[in-house]
Symmetry: C2
Subunit: 155 residues, 2 copies
């Protein structure tokens, strides 16, 4: 972990500010390098569009860690920890991620519930570079209004 990485309130989660480099052609947006202290291993890279104001929640992965950023638009990311052995069990954390003010990488280890809401009012794009490729067998979901997660999404 280098000095750019802030430890935050949920065990194993971190946020790392990312560089936005202005060029004549447009902005170059860094995400993840194999020689970065925040890199573990490469599983996959894919993108998810999210329509204005939509909510995509809740998901949990048993084995896969997420490395997320938002190269277009802005989203709210919410993470909830119900891991019985975690020092932060019961905590919920919110991030705003996107451009230009909040361009950062969020690392989410396995076994945490998380979800998104689009907040720019335009289509946003989430980039995810998890440490293992997608496997439908290892993911779980709950509805956005599940009463098992103490968070109320904005309508």
């Amino acid at each position: 972990m280098n000095l750019m990485i802030k430890s935050l309130e949920i065990e194993g989660v971190f946020a790392k500010p990312l560089k936005q480099i202005e060029t004549n052609c447009g902005t170059v947006l860094q995400m993840l390098r194999n020689d970065s202290s925040s890199f573990n291993q490469f599983g996959e890279i894919y993108f998810s569009e999210i329509h204005p104001r939509m909510i995509n929640a809740w998901k949990r992965h048993k084995q896969q860690a997420q490395n997320l950023t938002v190269p277009l638009g802005n989203i709210r990311l919410v993470i909830y920890d119900d891991r019985p052995t975690s020092s932060s069990c019961g905590k919920t954390i919110e991030y705003e991620i996107g451009r230009p003010e909040n361009y950062k990488l969020i690392h989410i280890p396995p076994m945490l519930w998380y979800g998104f809401q689009e907040i720019s009012g335009k289509v946003s794009i989430i980039a995810n570079c998890p440490d293992k490729p997608h496997d439908p067998e290892e993911g779980e979901s709950k509805p956005a209004d599940s009463n098992q997660i103490p968070y109320q999404w904005e309508a």
Copy 2:
């Protein structure tokens, strides 16, 4: 190489159609997985915005292979081969890459000249997942109007 990968006219270059999966929240856009036949190794993932109609050319990498796609907008990618020992030495190839019709991965091995032009008329985003992280020492460039490359960009 699987059946989805078309071999094209420049030695070592290939284009692979990528999946766009419609969901309630928006389109999920695949790019590259570590278990894909088109994957070699992970160096970095970053994004480059390109303003409407702009040209970003020419570049060449001595050691780094590029894996490019366009999750937002559309670009024209041009590749020129001047490798003396290549079976396609002297050839130029053009691709249109972007969404929704031309969502695909292009692999460019080292030592080929390449450049882009934005063609959607809006800001486009290029995602690049090269096999080595960026090293300013191993890249070279020529101006877009270099007479050493037999290609005329549209004004």
